[in-house]
């Protein structure tokens, strides 16, 4: 599938590259909500947010935050919107996860608002219950301790495997020695 953002990296696009490192790219596109809009996206191709690894997502958000600060200062904007359109239904145009930083001014006529809906308490309760249950199923998706532990475990397992492999090798050598008359 063709991807506009990957094309930017390949130098095939008119978009202006502002910053790049191993993980994060910052560009100015020519398709924007308002002039001054800046786009942050990961170098690696991910279609939607759910696919982006935590580490890269974090870096993108931090880059977006800094971009937003720069926008505040340079364009003297009165506000910024940080927008992630995740999926076609959310208006995502390019199949590459991206964060848009949109400078805002009082009365700029951008419709980035929504009409608040009246929700009855029962509906809210039901939704809250559904979500809470599903989130509970995810388990602890943040705790870095657990992750480290699991990593350590993996490492340990890896070491053990290596040691075993060594032993096997030695055994093999010993065996081969024995074989020599």
């Amino acid at each position: 599938m063709e991807c506009e953002y990957c094309d930017i990296l390949a130098g095939k696009s008119k978009a202006q590259l502002l910053y790049e490192d191993e993980k994060v790219i910052v560009v100015v596109k020519d398709m924007v909500f308002t002039p001054g809009q800046i786009t942050v996206f990961p170098r690696q191709h991910f279609t939607i947010m759910e696919q982006v690894p935590d580490e890269i997502l974090t870096k993108c958000i931090i880059a977006a935050d800094k971009t937003s600060r720069a926008v505040f200062e340079v364009f003297q904007s009165e506000g910024t919107n940080i927008l992630i359109r995740n999926g076609l239904g959310a208006g995502q145009k390019v199949p590459h996860f991206a964060i848009e930083i949109i400078p805002r001014r009082e009365g700029d006529g951008l419709n980035l608002q929504w009409q608040p809906k009246e929700m009855n308490q029962d509906d809210l309760d039901i939704t809250a219950h559904q979500l809470t249950e599903e989130i509970a199923k995810l388990g602890d998706f943040i705790s870095p301790k657990k992750r480290e532990e699991s990593k350590e475990k993996e490492k340990k397992d890896g070491k053990e495997v290596k040691i075993e492999a060594k032993e096997e090798k030695e055994n093999y050598l010993v065996k081969s020695l024995r074989k020599i008359p």
Partner: protein
Amino acid sequence: MPEPTEEQRKQWEEKIKNMSPEELQELQRQQCIFCQIISGKIPSKKVYEDSVCWAILDINPAAKGHVLLLPKEHYAIMPQVPEKVLGHLSIVAKNLSQVLLKVLRGDGTTVFVANGAAAGQRAQHFMVHLFPRKNGDGLLSAEERLVGADMALKVKAAIEKKLLTLLGGKKEIQKQLPREEIPSGAEKKVLAVESEFFITSPSAKRYHKEKCAFAQNIPEENKVVLSREEAEKTGRKPCTCVSGKKIPLVKPPKLPKVSKAKPETTAATARPIATKPKDRPKDKQPTPTKTKRGEGASLDDIAKLFK
């Protein structure tokens, strides 16, 4: 509560003026609805909580399943939020988005942050809006439009420096700075100076012009670029291509890239550095760099206009 009298109001204003930033923040915290929600003074529909943040359902949602993700600490706007917290929020947002998609069968999710009243921020507490989307639900109906390429250039010119300082793009700054330092007229000068650079290899006793057949025989990884002075200092003698006694076989100029790399080294350091050719392709790799550089000088002017 009785309406405050004129005097009371003045007193308050005095007080606020004399407050330290910490005290002000404390006051904001006391006034903040969401801090009261988090402290439990106002009931809410909580869906998730950890040590850093809360996720609650919006009472006036954009759509069913509209979640507000709030840091427990009080921050008014995004620039105040520490990076750690932002990173944490993004990971939580990712997982919540996944849940929203699964439970409410959306066609997508929107993650939205409003910084400042002009951006539609209603409460003085930084938050991430997260809501499921359905095709054609008409939310956030702003459409993107095509702006001219020059607008993108203007934006780039205006914001690039600031952004790079904030992002700490050291590599980029090194690359960019020389470009900005070169005044528009410098291009020609650089070209004139170009012939003052010669190619040799670490073990060679002579130095050559770039186009010289001998120079081209030096393997890329051994090529050393230096000035006449440097070459003479190291005891190297000019090749016939330099002294002009005899013109050796000239192959067609090899890579136009090489000639581009040089001006950059000249301008950047004013003193030639023996660059390993392996580094060079990096600098020159953007062939468009050259065109950009040409515009670079005038871009500053545009930037001024833009401000």
